[in-house]
């Protein structure tokens, strides 16, 4: 056995050296055989000629015998492969234009596909960075229309006691919350509470130190924290002595026991600096938070072999039993939710990821069709060459292999160029992308992506290689003059129609998104952004720790800013529209005077803002009934509110709301709020959300009206933004240099909300243009080819009296027929596929007329140019020259 391998190896090594000698030796050996046979025949009494003839007939194909002998050699295919490659490259060098355009087309498409894939891969395919992440689930309830599940302490404990389908279960406190690091070098951080079981559940261990101990994760346990890698590196300079040191969080000392890994991904994807033990007190969960226990996010690992559906089925009875604990109106609105952790982390991004992937796949197919078209054209031109090779004894398989080798060469060259292009495109994507695309920072070209690209290129190569390679001629064409093979032309026509159809689908998608984008941009916000500057002020909680201090500081800032020249209005609020955080209430939280209470937990959401009197002036929100707030109200006894038009219609249908009163249900009940006026709607759920009713609460100069150490200053001014921003920052700095201020022009905040639709529109538009350009090249290519093939025919027609216009019509008609067929096919497909985009569209029907009118027009213009160019060339044919052609 070993000697066999050594022998094989020896032959393999000497392959090149010996190749030539071996070929001649083989010839000699076969020659000898024939001679022996001839001699034997002569011995049987044949004449020498007859003997040799018979020997040769007996022998059969010398060429085939030689090929079969050569195929016995280990690794013989490498030789033929190299031969094919050399032959292919020689061919490409002879037709550079063909090779360059094919590689460029492929590079563009493969580059775009690779870039898009590297962005969507973590969203759609790559496993989350946890141990055995496929079995991690997010568990809890969803309430009403909320989509993110949560749990409260009482239910969590009950689930834990009966968690049949789960191998492990752990929870974190609600979302991360701001906290202060109090020391000489203070910082505002994000803190979150984790149970000790969270990290083991995710399969993560700290890079330094250890996880929480069970006794630390218990009520009144020793105060400990774990910190993020970023905080450790950034704030503590990567000092390994950090373990065991006490740090002051919000005024409480806690010992650092561990540092999280650098790329630890929080299950909520939020950037968090400090982990504290949740220290769940089982006894308190039946009383805290109205008897439901503290809110939390729970995660679990499915037992091996338990599917998601089985887990849901197993938990349903538990959930049904627990529903009895909820107040009756809430029961119908609460649902059990167990879904993969990936789904929770990725959320809505899946849809846009699939759309982008689909779009870029369409571009790739168009490109492949283009290259296939080029290859078919080239194949037609080489028909004679192939026929000659076949007649010389090349097997059909050998010719197919040659075609495939050339196709794969092109594809791999395209992939190499595409990979370089992808790197650039990826940077563009990252720069363009809105904040909402998850894992974007993790998108990079690594081995996995490169492997994807290579596989993609090979698939492309095989696809367009096979379409052409299988199209080999019969051996009869050796004598044929350059004929116009009907089959080639038909195949190319089909390819071009497919390209047009694909680009129409892309164009239609892009047009719909563009229309939607236009609507978003043009919509009335209901407030002005022009000249409005916002200043976010967050008072450090450990020094400003009473409502009176908050009131005092904020009023000082308001006065200081009001004194600045050019400032026309200044207001304090807890938030500003249209997007971002805002506080919200349910209808059922309100009790209108003289009306029965609504069932708790029902009736939908109302946005609320707590504002000082000049708010409506600063944002130019018109008060349409009653009045806005005045300076005197700030010192009055009355708790005044202004309702938005929707809120007024909802709370006081058919009545005049002015002077009517309502109060809160639950904590804070007994305080009456009186309606002072009604304001026009102002966009308050982002740019594309459905408008939400809104209540503006007056923030009086009374400490009890200030329940937060954070506030937003809205400043109306005629001066340039940068000037105002500098002055406001200086004014705050004068009062207390340690208070952080973040200045954002309102127009800029609104523009940021456009990032997402802009990204989607730009990307799809880019792909649509690419697809269209390729389809145009495809049309041009086939028509130019056909025209050149028909030069003689055109000459004859002209000689027989056809005018140049007739010729133009002849060629253009041919092209336009393809455009028409492809266009109709594409439009039908686009109408069928448009619903995929529905979730991305704002006030735009998926059958938007304008979009579906514009697309054919654009197509006709582009296709028209692509058709006319070759048609004009046909028209200019000189009959005398054409008739002498060939």
């Amino acid at each position: 056995m070993i000697s066999e391998w050594i022998s094989r190896f020896r032959f393999f090594l000497r392959r090149d050296l010996l190749a030539r000698r071996r070929t001649s030796e083989l010839d000699e050996e076969l020659q000898f055989h024939v001679e022996q046979a001839t001699a034997a025949n002569i011995a049987q009494g044949m004449t020498p000629e007859e003997a040799r003839r018979n020997a040769l007939i007996e022998f059969g194909g010398v060429e085939q015998a030689r090929e079969r002998c050569q195929e016995q050699e280990p690794g013989w295919w490498i030789d033929t492969l190299l031969q094919d490659v050399r032959y292919g490259l020689r061919g490409f060098r002879r037709s550079k234009a063909f090779a360059v355009s094919a590689v460029l087309t492929l590079a563009l498409a493969i580059g775009a596909t690779t870039a898009v894939f590297s962005v969507v891969d973590p969203i759609l395919f790559r496993a989350l960075p946890y141990a055995d992440a496929g079995r991690l689930v997010s568990v809890g309830f969803t309430f009403s229309s909320e989509r993110e599940e949560f749990l409260t302490g009482k239910f969590y404990l009950d689930w834990q006691a009966s968690h049949k389908p789960f191998a492990e279960m752990a929870s974190q406190g609600d979302a991360p919350h701001p906290c202060d690091l109090v020391e000489n070098n203070p910082a505002e951080l994000e803190c979150v509470k984790f149970q000790a079981g969270m990290l083991p559940l995710l399969g993560i261990s700290p890079v330094l130190g250890r996880n929480f101990l069970p006794e630390e994760d218990a009520p009144h346990g020793p105060p400990v924290v774990m910190i993020s890698y970023a905080l450790w590196q950034g704030h503590y300079g990567g000092d390994r002595q950090i373990i065991g040191r006490e740090i002051n969080i919000d005024g409480n000392l806690a010992r650092v026991v561990g540092v999280l890994p650098r790329d630890f991904q929080f299950p909520t994807l939020e950037q968090t600096d400090v982990l504290q033990p949740l220290a769940l007190d089982p006894a308190a969960q039946n009383t805290a938070n109205g008897g439901f226990g503290i809110p939390m996010l729970a995660f679990a690992r499915l037992k091996p072999g338990v599917s998601l559906a089985e887990a849901q089925a197993e938990m349903q009875p538990v959930f049904d039993r627990e529903k009895a604990w909820l107040p009756p109106p809430a029961r119908a609105l609460t649902r059990l939710s167990i879904r993969p952790l990936r789904e929770r982390e990725v959320g809505d991004a899946r849809r846009i990821a699939w759309i982008l992937l689909g779009a870029v796949a369409a571009v790739l197919l168009t490109a492949c069709a283009n290259v296939a078209g080029l290859l078919v054209a080239r194949g037609a031109a080489r028909e004679r060459e192939m026929a000659v090779r076949k007649a010389l004894g090349a097997s059909r398989w050998r010719l197919v292999r040659q075609g495939l080798t050339e196709a794969l060469l092109l594809a791999l060259a395209g992939a190499a160029a595409g990979l370089a292009l992808a790197e650039g495109l990826l940077r563009v994507f990252v720069a363009l992308a809105p904040a909402g695309v998850p894992f974007l920072s993790k998108a990079r070209l690594d081995l996995r992506i490169a492997a994807f690209t290579v596989v993609l290129a090979l698939a492309c190569g095989v696809v367009f290689g096979m379409t052409t390679a299988l199209h080999r001629p019969d051996g009869l064409l050796v004598n044929a003059r350059s004929t116009l093979s009907r089959r080639h032309v038909r195949l190319r026509r089909v390819l071009v129609m497919g390209q047009i159809a694909a680009s129409v689908v892309l164009l239609a998608g892009a047009a719909l998104l563009l229309r939607s984008f236009q609507r978003i941009e043009e919509q009335r916000l209901g407030f002005t952004t022009h000249g409005v500057m916002t200043a976010q002020i967050a008072l450090p909680g450990f020094r400003y720790n009473t409502e009176a201090k908050w009131l005092e500081f904020h009023l000082q800032v308001e006065q200081a800013v009001r004194r600045l020249p050019g400032v026309t209005a200044v207001a304090l609020s807890d938030s500003v529209p249209p997007g971002g955080w805002q506080s919200e209430l349910r209808y059922s939280d309100l009790a209108v005077e003289g009306r029965p209470h609504m069932a708790p937990g029902v009736g939908g959401w109302i946005a609320t803002r707590r504002v000082t009197p000049e708010y409506f002036r600063a944002l130019d929100i018109p008060v349409i009934r009653g009045r806005g707030f005045t300076g005197e109200d700030s010192n009055g006894e009355m708790r005044l509110v202004v309702l938005s038009r929707l809120a007024a219609a909802r709370l006081f249908p058919g009545e005049d709301p002015i002077g009517k009163r309502f109060s809160m249900v639950g904590p804070g009940s007994g305080t009456w709020f009186t309606v002072a006026g009604v304001a026009e709607e102002a966009k308050n759920t982002g740019l594309i959300g459905e408008e939400r009713p809104e209540i503006y609460f007056l923030r009086r100069d009374v400490a009890s009206d200030w329940s937060d150490r954070r506030a937003v200053l809205a400043i109306g001014s005629a001066l340039p933004e940068a000037t105002v921003a500098g002055w406001v920052q200086a004014a705050v700095h004068n009062l207390d240099p340690t208070v952080p201020v973040e200045m954002v022009p309102l127009a800029q905040a609104v523009d940021k909300l456009l990032d997402q639709p802009r990204f989607e529109t730009a990307l799809l538009g880019f792909f649509a243009l690419m697809g269209l350009a390729m389809a145009a090249v495809g049309i041009y290519g086939i028509l130019a080819y056909l025209t050149s093939q028909r030069t003689q025919e055109i000459g004859v027609r002209m000689a027989l009296g056809a005018t140049r216009v007739n010729i133009l019509g002849l060629i253009a008609r041919d092209g336009l027929r393809m455009v028409l067929a492809g266009g109709v096919l594409g439009l039908a497909a686009a109408l069928g596929l448009a619903h995929v985009l529905r979730a991305l569209l704002y006030q735009t029907s998926t059958y938007d007329t304008l979009a579906f009118v514009v697309v054919p027009v654009v197509l006709c213009v582009v296709a028209g140019v692509a058709v006319l160019l070759p048609a004009r060339a046909g028209m200019k044919v000189e009959p005398t020259v054409a008739l002498r052609y060939e």
Binding site: S7, A39, G60, A65, E73
Partner: protein
């Protein structure tokens, strides 16, 4: 008359190896010898003979040397290597087992084979 393609896969290898035990031989000689010994039943066409010879050579079971033929022409002579001899032994054992088994299934008493 069975053509070489109808020979069991691997049987041709066995025949060649066995034939070469008598000494080194060129391709033509191997073909003639097999035909002769089999009383013209087995005719090995060159289309399978030479690929088989080359295959065996690449496997290291036979080796080739250029020499002069009986009519003084340069010819390629094949001879068994040590590995080839071992291979032949195992192949023969396999063949015996197989033919005995086939004979049993067909209900015939195996004739004594050399």
């Amino acid at each position: 008359m069975p053509t070489s393609t109808e020979l069991l896969q691997g049987t041709l290898d066995l025949l060649i190896l066995q034939t070469l035990t008598t000494g080194s031989m060129h391709g033509w000689g191997v073909a003639q010898r097999i035909q002769q010994v089999s009383k013209d039943v087995l005719q090995i066409g060159q289309g399978s003979l030479y690929p088989a010879l080359h295959r065996l050579e690449y496997k290291g079971w036979i080796r080739s040397d250029w020499g002069n033929s009986e009519n003084n022409r340069r010819a390629k002579f094949y001879s068994l290597t040590r590995a080839g001899k071992k291979r032949l032994e195992t192949e023969l054992e396999d063949w015996d087992r197989l033919s005995a088994a086939v004979a049993l299934v067909l209900g015939r008493i195996p004739e004594a084979s050399s």
